[in-house]
Amino acid sequence: MPWNREQMAARAADELQDGTYVNLGIGIPTLVANYTGDKDITLQSENGMLGMGPFPFEGEEDPDLINAGKQTITEVDRTSYFDSATSFGMIRGGKIAAAVLGAMEVAENGDLANWMIPGKLVKGMGGAMDLVAGVGRVIVVMDHQNKKGESKLLKSCTLPLTGKGVVDRIITNLGVLDVVAGGLAIVELAEGVTEQELRDATEAAIV
């Protein structure tokens, strides 16, 4: 059985090191926060906050306290606030240990595309290009194939890039792969998924 969303998030949470500062993207990456267990992880919100807490209780929403997805959130006891230049200074400067984010395509050389589909509505890259260029480790969490059953792990990206050669590890519903010299290396298979199944679902070179 391939992993479901929650299992992918839980697997991604295993990647996070105790005592680090990390940035979680929108979608499945957001769920990762629910699986960090005893680890002491501080979440960054790139709109200017370290130490992001859960959603507020009803009636306690504060319009001055939102995350990068514009959702109302809360602070925790170690929270600090700062301006956007400082926030991206710590991202660009490599102070954020890891970013977990979704993707449309990942290429075997680590290229990442997750911000734009030509001809479709273009909303913008937000902070994604800064994050993938700056953080210590880029972990992509996504379905292995798109809705048409085509591999999202490609020989080379077809969509405009978010970053070139930036992805370190990919966690899909079928397993875990690393970007290494010459292609992708299988790190782990989802329970019940065979190596052949994963290979068959992958266009990128597996080494």
Binding site: S45, E46, N47, G48, M49, P54, F55, P56, F57, E58, G59, E60, E61, D62, P63, D64, L65, I66, N67, G69, K70, Q71, T72, I73, E75, Y81, F82, D83, S84, A85, S87, F88, G89, I91, R92, D111, L121, V122, K123, G124, M125, G126, G127, A128, M129, D130, A133, G134, P160, L161, T162, G163, K164, G165
Partner: protein, 234 residues
Amino acid sequence: MNKIHATATEALDGLLFDGMQIAAGGFGLCGIPELLIDALVESGVKDLSIASNNAGVDGFGLGKLLETRQVKKMLSSYVGENAEFMRQYLAGELELEFNPQGTLAERMRSGGCGIPGFYTKTGVGTVIAEGKEEKEFDGQTYILERGIVADLAIVKAWKADDTGNAVFRKTARNFNPVAAMCGKVCVMEVEEIVPSGSLDPDSIHLPGIYVHRLIQGTHEKRIEQRTTRKQEEA
């Protein structure tokens, strides 16, 4: 040093001209200069080029200036949540220059700090790098990004003293300090003006030197994505 003005319209008096560039603070609808945007709509100034992380939503924030067709160009990192924006953009009525969010923030800070250009690895190998100078440092490729100096900065703080020393609240700080820095003139709106001496000098986020005109007013502070959890989840 009287920086305090009675209204947003009065505070913008003499500062506006068609085709000008404006830097605006705020992230989404959080910490946006609501009152100054309304005054810009009222002024009728047009062909604006606006550097702002987002473009508001339909009918609120910078979205209001889009509806009145006063905006010629946006310089932003993310413009979702705005159907009118998309309509004008796809119809070729509006120019759009995408900037990665951190690049936009740093461009504003740089412009305000007398730095005309800096190198970053953000966007290397993407469409963002097209037409920009590339340079190698220690074997890695970076692109040159330019500082932004705007004709006017419009920003919103929580409190300011009468000399313009300002403090922001939580994530409403965001782009406001850097937008203020990059304006040749900066007009700030706050929820409360306090006498000088009331703010802790160690805790001022933006020194008054960056603030030329100041107004106090009431803000709607609309929430874009109201997300909550139930009490029993605690």
